[in-house]
Symmetry: C2
Subunit: 512 residues, 2 copies
């Protein structure tokens, strides 16, 4: 094919002028909550079969290890405790729960402009995970991640347009005490961003402590309950088909405290879930349906996110492979099940197996992110920054992920087909009377801001320009942006009085 059209100066000044005008939020080419759903690997019949297999698994196999409180609540709702200690769920109970569950969930940001409406196929991308290393992009060193690393990640994410929420992506390994770690994690996330925050707690008592901190941040308990800006990422099951005792107790405490719950089933196909993609989805759906029964048995209508997060094993080694095509399919298939139930849902995408933000990381992160978005997944967790199959988090990769997700979101938005977009009159005017090209046309000028996504760091210069600029390096550019972003004060820090109150009540490690 021919070489691309060469750069022209005609119309450039006009385009530049158009670009400098600010754009209303609803006119931005991509934004949180764009409607996906154009990728659908499962047919309607497939969805039915998966649903019925999940119902059969719940009725016939059930889940082991429910805590006493959960057994009380779920048997009262209609679940049956077997002699083998497993809790089984009649199909009618599950179907009724699905029908009555809360399907109008908004996850609040501390700043309301970051609220996330999880209805329909509205798509949001954000961080998540429990990486134990921070990746140094320049040296490739994997160091134990610290509270400061987490706080920095949160502050960076706060500034990135295409990161719509901030679930804790890495663990503060420098805080050995579990309670202090949970509370400082929450503090660091909330102090770093006014976007919706997700985090986990290792004991119910810590969740209750955390709620007290959230009341302080919100001003009052009533204010917190009116707009809960933190959700609990809760691994309530240990796949296959077992409840996780302490996580369930945490979940009950969060429900009591008015905190939305992410019902997270993180099986690994070929290890803790069936190796077939359909089977891994069946198990994840069954487990999350059990979680949904649990939540609604405790408090009907409590906001819960259907968190089918099946992962993939590299079956040669049994190790996890989050960057595979199989992972992208698992996540997209789960998103279709969320829509089948019309329930707010989340799953994992954007994970790289690559150790560094290299070409492999780029293709791995895009593959699952763009298909997750195109499948209409409400909450795309772990969408940026994750390396080494979730073991490492990288600040530079998070920043580059913002560019990557911008392009993915453009694909989620899709193709508008209107009379104007079809362009027949523009083609006619250009070919019959006009200049024979579209460079300066009114349509081109009007669409350049509303229809086209421009990368922040992605380089589109010509080889000549690029060489003249000394072959600018993508990672170095990301590091420079990281330094610039972290040099700016957080807009999310608490007012001094609130901060003093928090520090008086809790052992906060970050300096005031």
């Amino acid at each position: 094919m021919n070489a691309p059209v060469s750069r022209r100066s005609g119309g450039r000044a006009a385009r530049h002028a158009a670009r400098t005008a600010p754009l209303a939020e609803h006119l931005r080419p991509v934004r949180p909550g764009l409607t996906g759903g154009h990728f659908a690997p499962l047919s309607a019949a497939d969805l039915d079969r998966i649903h019925h297999a999940a119902l059969a698994a719940l009725e016939q196999i059930g889940l082991a290890n429910a805590p006493a409180s959960g057994i009380r609540a779920m048997t009262a709702a209609g679940a049956i405790l077997g002699d083998d200690g497993r809790l089984r769920f009649p199909a009618a109970l599950v179907e009724d729960t699905i029908a009555r569950a809360n399907r109008h969930v908004t996850l609040c940001g501390r700043d309301p402009r970051h609220d996330l409406d999880l209805s329909g196929t509205r798509v949001h991308f954000g961080t998540a995970g429990a990486a134990v290393h921070l990746v140094d992009a320049a040296t490739g060193t994997y160091a134990e991640s610290t509270l400061q690393d987490l706080y920095d990640a949160t502050r960076i994410a706060d500034r990135l347009d295409n990161i719509h929420f901030v679930q804790r992506p890495m663990v503060a390994r420098d805080i050995p005490d579990p309670r202090e770690m949970d509370l400082n994690t929450l503090y660091a996330c909330c102090a770093g961003t006014t976007k919706h925050v997700g985090t986990s707690f290792s004991e119910a008592a810590f969740a209750r402590d955390a709620l007290r901190m959230l009341h302080l941040i919100a001003g009052t308990e009533t204010a917190w309950r009116a707009r809960p800006f933190v959700s609990n990422s809760n691994c309530f099951v240990v796949p296959p088909m077992k409840f996780a005792l302490e996580s369930c107790e945490v979940m009950e405490a969060c429900i009591e405290g008015g905190m939305p719950v992410l019902l997270l089933s993180a099986g690994q196909a070929g290890a803790t879930a069936p190796a077939s993609i359909a089977g891994a989805i069946v198990q994840a759906v069954a487990e999350c349906l059990a979680g949904l029964v649990y939540v609604n048995a405790i408090r009907p209508g409590h906001p819960a996110i259907f968190g089918t997060w099946p992962f993939v094993s590299d079956l040669r080694t049994g190790a996890m492979s989050g960057g595979s095509g199989e992972q992208a399919l698992l996540t997209a298939g789960c998103a279709q099940m969320h829509r089948y139930y019309d329930l707010p849902g989340g799953a994992a995408a954007g994970i790289a197996d690559a150790k560094l933000p290299d070409m492999q990381a780029g293709w791995e992160q895009m593959c699952s992110n763009v298909l997750a978005g195109a499948s209409g997944l409400n909450m795309v967790y772990e969408a940026a920054g994750m390396h080494a199959s979730l073991l490492g988090f990288c600040h530079e990769s998070l920043i580059l992920g913002d560019d990557l997700i911008g392009q993915a979101l453009r694909c989620v938005r899709g193709i508008e087909v209107t009379e104007d977009a079809l362009s027949l009159e523009v083609i006619r005017a250009t070919c019959l009377d006009g200049p024979g090209h579209y460079l300066g046309s009114e349509q081109t000028l009007s669409l350049m801001q509303t229809d086209y996504v421009y990368p922040n760091l992605g380089d589109r210069s010509s080889p000549k320009e690029w060489a003249e600029r000394g072959q600018p390096n993508l990672i170095a550019a990301a590091t420079a942006r990281k330094i610039a972003l972290l040099a700016r004060p957080s807009t999310a820090r608490f007012d001094p009085m609130t901060d003093r109150a928090i520090r008086a009540a809790f052992p906060i490690h970050l300096p005031a």
Copy 2:
């Protein structure tokens, strides 16, 4: 979420043994011709509207600059030459042409196991382009591309499972004479691979010379015509809506010589095509429909590929941006139009704007490749190796692209939902009687070869293993593989007698 399941030795020996057995071609997890179609950004109504807008453009605007021979053939078929010199196409002529066009096209390889069946939504990935630089992955240098570079690319592509055809990706800039360049390009491609080859010719006379060479390679003209293993990539239009005189003459010579034609319309949205995605598709479809009328007016049923290749402009500069989300949507929308007509189609994907095989290149190449495949595009051109918005080709990137496309193909294949795949019995056996995990299960062992794609160079080791191996570099690994592949003799070289005959007839530059 929890850290991934740690690596285990249980079942590893059995898995290793299973992996060493060779797998029948039809059982490979990915292969040429997988059926796509799960990504559909355009609705049925959208497709109708685009079709009718294209018909209106052909009837009302038409195309300028048809050669005299084309005007004769197309007006005889029913096209109308206006006083303004534009050829206009009544809707009935276009509809009849679509109905009668050849929709059962197989592109042959010199080796029949590389034949490509372009029916339905069967997907094939390959190279293409006219890059003028070879990119040195280690230094970032863009040097003028040579015939040897092209021959090397062809030999590398011949060995890569996920590169299904080899259209000439770069130009032999070291051969100034256009005829010698065309003939040596053809020789180098055919001498490097037994996969289907695509190339272009700058004059009809060179195409006729090329056909004589192809008769020699095939043995006889009859043998060539029975299994034409080269197609003509033909830019028969200069968008917007103008025929390209010399390319049309080349096309007529190729049709005469029995060579399949890729009807390539390479407009650039915002420059030579409307800036709206839908409008760029309308124009590309209109132009390719005109080409289809042309081909079928010359020889009814001649094999033609509907080559809607609209590209994207970065509207800030007017420069091309092949790595954008907009590009992925353009290509996927075109693939849907091919299916709307049930005609064999091709478009461009996998282009990086990045200058090097870095993270940006990875996300750019994956975004359009996976969506092109998922949309069921028959021929995904430019799928590997292309950088700097088509100006540079990189051997290492081609090799890494094979891995990238492997994962994209896994997504194209989708999710099988069968009774076995649903895994209810496997879940039951594992949870109620079994070990509580799936690591050594019969299902896991049987699916590990047929359902999972393993990267060649993509790294899935743990950070610890990776550090112990000295942080292996992805690009260095690709370079090592390049050297190893090029050290092997081409299996596609001609027998000595044929080669002597070719060299006697044509000025061949590659050493014998």
